[in-house]
Each structure stands twice: as structure tokens, then as C-alpha cells.
Amino acid sequence: MEDKRKPPSAEETGGLKLCELGQEVVISAGSRVVSQGETPEFFYVIQSGRLRVFRETADGIQTNLTELGAGAYFGEVALVTGQPRSASVEALTEARLIKVSQVEFDRLLDQNPKLARHIINQLATWLVTGDSRLEKEVVHQVKLRQISWFDYALMIGLSIALGLVFNIYNDNKIPLIYGWGEKDNIPEISLQQAREDYQKNQAIFVDARKSAFYDQKHIKGTFFNLPLILTDMMYPMFQFTLEQTPGAKDKTIIVYGGSFSRRFDVELARFLKNKGLEKVAVLKDYSGWENAFPLEEKPPKEAASISLGLAGLLEWLPLSIFVLILIPPIRRSPYLSAACRLLLGVIFIAFALSKILRPAVFALNTVDYGMMPAWGVNLWALALPWAELVVGLFLVLGIRTRAAATLIGAMEVTFIIGLVWAILHHLPINCGCVGEVGEPVNWLKVLKNTGALVMTIQIFLYDRFFVLDRGGFILRDRKI
């Protein structure tokens, strides 16, 4: 801001010359002349050099108020009001100042009404412009903190739209809902009937689940584990085993292994029917086999998993938030918010890119948890990676960051619930968080996600730098 303050002329001071009253001092560059909050003692007039006037918060955030040059003056406000210094002044270059004591300054005012009027006029001008600045800043802050339903609608709508449109052109496209509209001509058999057939050895049982689930628990004497996802490749082996087992071809094939999230049993039964096998059935109560049949079980073991690479390394960083939030100035720092945004943004973008091209893989990962209803699995698998990409980009670019942080927080809560569910139920799965690879599901993974959740809360509360809000891009604090 251009400085308009000029030193009072000899006429205004009633013939008294400031240089005759004060004492000349030389200040080296970088030295502080007055400090905010200290008791005022002197009034200063600048003869040469440049000085910076600024305010500073307890957190160390500085707001530049103005720069002063030769001919300007400062320090009169605290002398007039009798209050501690309202701002600090620091020399930007070597400066030569006239330092006038409180007594001399009071004498000047007493003897020179023109000078007094000049200073009152100056203070009044500051008050008016200060009010205007305050209003502008409040409006800006309000806009910055605003979250509207539009923000959420924008991000969620964009994610769903991108997911659905991309799926149309994706070589690895998936149906919106598995089995939707397919004629279901697979006979269902009651648990009691199936149990009788089992005891009389009149049926063979085929497990349609992934091999890890099968290994952990299956009906004792199951004929074959033919995971639905590998049927194309493994069917010849199944067919051969069927042909080589005496009497097997004449028995009813009872397919089991369906879940709340996907009816693997029905889909595999349909596949077998299409291959020409006539006597195929599924259990009416698809989840009841665990209580109705003798089981072969193995103690739960950690599922096979593969490192997430760079994204996995980055995922360790959210753990640092548990230390950082213990330090109050850092906890509230907008710079920490910016760092959290960058970190979460990059992690989410990387995770999203790994899932977008192959939604079927992510859909299967979702099914593994057994929490999502079957009709929602593919919609989730299509939309979530795009949601991760959109909110990740919004965080990095500083667009609608509070809303983006809320959505990431909601995702983290969902992931944490899923992980805890998987741990408590000893599911033989990995996290499925990065498309084709995955980390083990354990409490450390829960902690990492909790760290990310805390980061989203920090962003929500304190983010204000490097953001593109409705008032324009804010790199740091605004100069006033």
C-alpha cells in the first residue's frame, strides 16, 4: 500500500522543527525498531531507508500492513492512545530515523493544534479504511469457510457420471449389476434336502468361492473348488475330474458359496448349465451351509498380499499426524493443512488410477468384505475410484477443499469399518485398496486410515492457504 503519511511541516508544528526536538538514530537492515505489544516511548520520523510495518499472531503468522519510506512517520498511535504498540516495525534497509520522546511529542501536540488535527485526521482515515478492510476480509473468510450442498453434489455427481461414461468405453467394462435381467432357471434346493442327498451320497458339492475362502472353511468332502472368477480357465480341469470320478456325472451338482454381496453360486450354476450339465442346483438358503453340513476348517491365516509400492510408503506418513496434533501451533497451522492436502491428494489419486481401468478387480475386492448388497457392488466399484480421483485432485488444486476433505473423511470411515469387520470375522483377504495389489488387513492398516481421517479433520478446520476459493487463488495470507 502506498504510504500517504508525510511528516508535519514546520508550519504545522508551530515553528518547532522535529530535527531540533528528536535524536537521530541509525537502524541496520533487519533490526526491529518497535515491537507489537511493548509500552510506547518514542515517535519516529524516517529520514532515509525503508521499513516494514506488520502484525504477528502467537502462531507466528505475519500480516504486512504497509511499508514506509523517507519522509513518513510512525509510533504516534500508541503515544496518543496510551495503549501498547499495535504493530511491529522492522528496517528493510539501513534507515536513519529521528526519535522523538513521549514528553517532546506531547509538547508538540499541546503547542500545535494543526499537528494535532493532522494526526486525528490520519487516525480517522485509518479507522474508516480499517473497517472497510475488515469487512472485505470477513466476507472473504466467510466465503472460504462456506460449504454448500452444491460442492458435494458436484463431486459426487462428477464421480458417478465419469464412472458410468468411462465404463461404456472401457475394454474391461462391467455390468452395472451382475445378473441383472438374466433369466434365472437354476433350481433351488432346501438345506434339508441337500443334507439328505449329502448323507446318501447322491449329490456332489462344488464351492464357487475364491480359493482362500475355500481353504479356510468348506463343506467336508466338497468335490471341487471352482472359483467363479477362474471358471473360464479351470473348467477343463473340473470337467476332467467329473469324467474321471465314477458315478459323479449322474449325481446332482449342488453349487454353494453365494454371499450377500455376490451370488457366486448362482452364476457358477448358470455357467455349468450353459456347458450342458443338466442336474445343477443351488442352496435355497445360500448362507446356511455352514450350520447344516460337517465342515473342514483351517485356522485363519493372513491372506497373500503384495506391497503397495510408493503409495504404500506414502501411507505411512499419516501416522505422523498423531504426533503433530499434540503441538498446538502446528496443530492449527494452515501449512500443515496444505501438507495434509498434498499427501492425501497424491495417495488418493494414485489409488484411484490403479483401480479405474479394471473395475472388475475392485468389485471383487468389495465382494470379499461381504458388506455391500449385491446390487450396489458394481456401482460402488465404478464410482468410488473416480470419487477418489476427483476429491484427490480437488485437494491438490485447492478447490472446495473443506467439502473434499469431508468426502475423503467419509471414505476413510467406510474403509475403517470394513477393515475392522474383516479383522473381526477373520476374512482371508487383503485390503483391496489399490486395485490389483493389496496390503494385509490388520490393526496397523486401521491406524494408517485413522491417521488419514485425522488429517481430513485438520484440513476441514484449519485449511486456508494455497486454495482456489470463490474469491480467487490465495497463495498465502492476503496483504492488507
Binding site: L228, M233, P236
Partner: protein, 125 residues
């Protein structure tokens, strides 16, 4: 403070480009070719695995073929089936032999009870 949006956009573009490249995997050339299972699959037929350099592939057994896509990740061949399964093949002898984990559970190794070994019969694809 004035922001150079061009520079900002360039940096972000490079970050995203890098992430995309990072997700593309390694060169497929060393493993492209036709492989045949060492032992018969399902007791009567050999399996042929055709890995084309453009990332497409075919699994053929008993005259029936199934298409898939494949990439190279961390020196291993990752086969993606249409149904979402992933099979990981570990190359040995400079890519002449592939040990394919048939569990579909992303084991880094090859479980003995679900491992199919292939030998390369023709390079390129």
C-alpha cells in the same frame, strides 16, 4: 502474491503424467511369446499361453480359448481375466519358464498345489 497459473498447471500436469506412467507397468517385450504347460492340464491337454506384446493374451486348452490382458509388474507377469481375477506368473531362466499361481489370490510365490509351469516355445507376440 501473483501466481503463474501456467507454471502451476505444468507442475500438476507432470505429477499426473508421472502417476499415469507409474501405473503403466514395465516393458512386456522380454516375456512376449507362446508358452506351453510342462504337464497336461486336467490330465489330458496341454495349456497354451500366448502373450502378445500389445498386452493381449490367450489361454487355450482343449481347443477352447479365453482372452485376457497382461502387464509386467515388478518383474512378474500379471494376467487379468475378464471376470476380474488376477493370476501372477513368476518368470525364471530369463523368462523361458513361467510359474503360474492358479489360486487367483495374488500369492507372491507359486503355491505347490496350485502351480502350473509353462515353458516358452516361441518368442515375440
Amino acid at each position: 502474491m501473483k501466481i503463474n497459473f501456467l507454471k502451476l498447471g505444468t507442475i500438476l500436469g507432470l505429477i499426473i503424467f508421472g502417476l499415469v506412467l507409474w501405473g503403466c507397468g514395465e516393458s512386456r517385450s522380454p516375456f512376449a511369446g507362446t508358452y506351453r504347460s510342462v504337464e497336461t492340464f486336467a490330465g489330458k491337454n496341454y495349456v497354451e499361453l500366448d502373450l502378445k506384446e500389445d498386452g493381449k493374451g490367450t489361454w487355450t486348452v482343449a481347443g477352447k480359448s479365453t482372452d485376457f490382458t497382461w502387464v509386467v509388474n515388478d518383474g512378474k507377469v500379471w494376467i487379468y481375466t475378464k471376470s476380474g481375477a488376477i493370476l501372477i506368473a513368476t518368470p525364471t531362466e530369463g523368462g523361458k519358464v513361467l510359474s503360474l499361481d492358479m489360486t487367483g489370490d495374488w500369492h507372491p510365490g507359486c503355491p505347490p498345489n496350485a502351480c502350473t509351469t509353462f515353458k516358452r516355445v516361441q518368442t515375440g507376440g
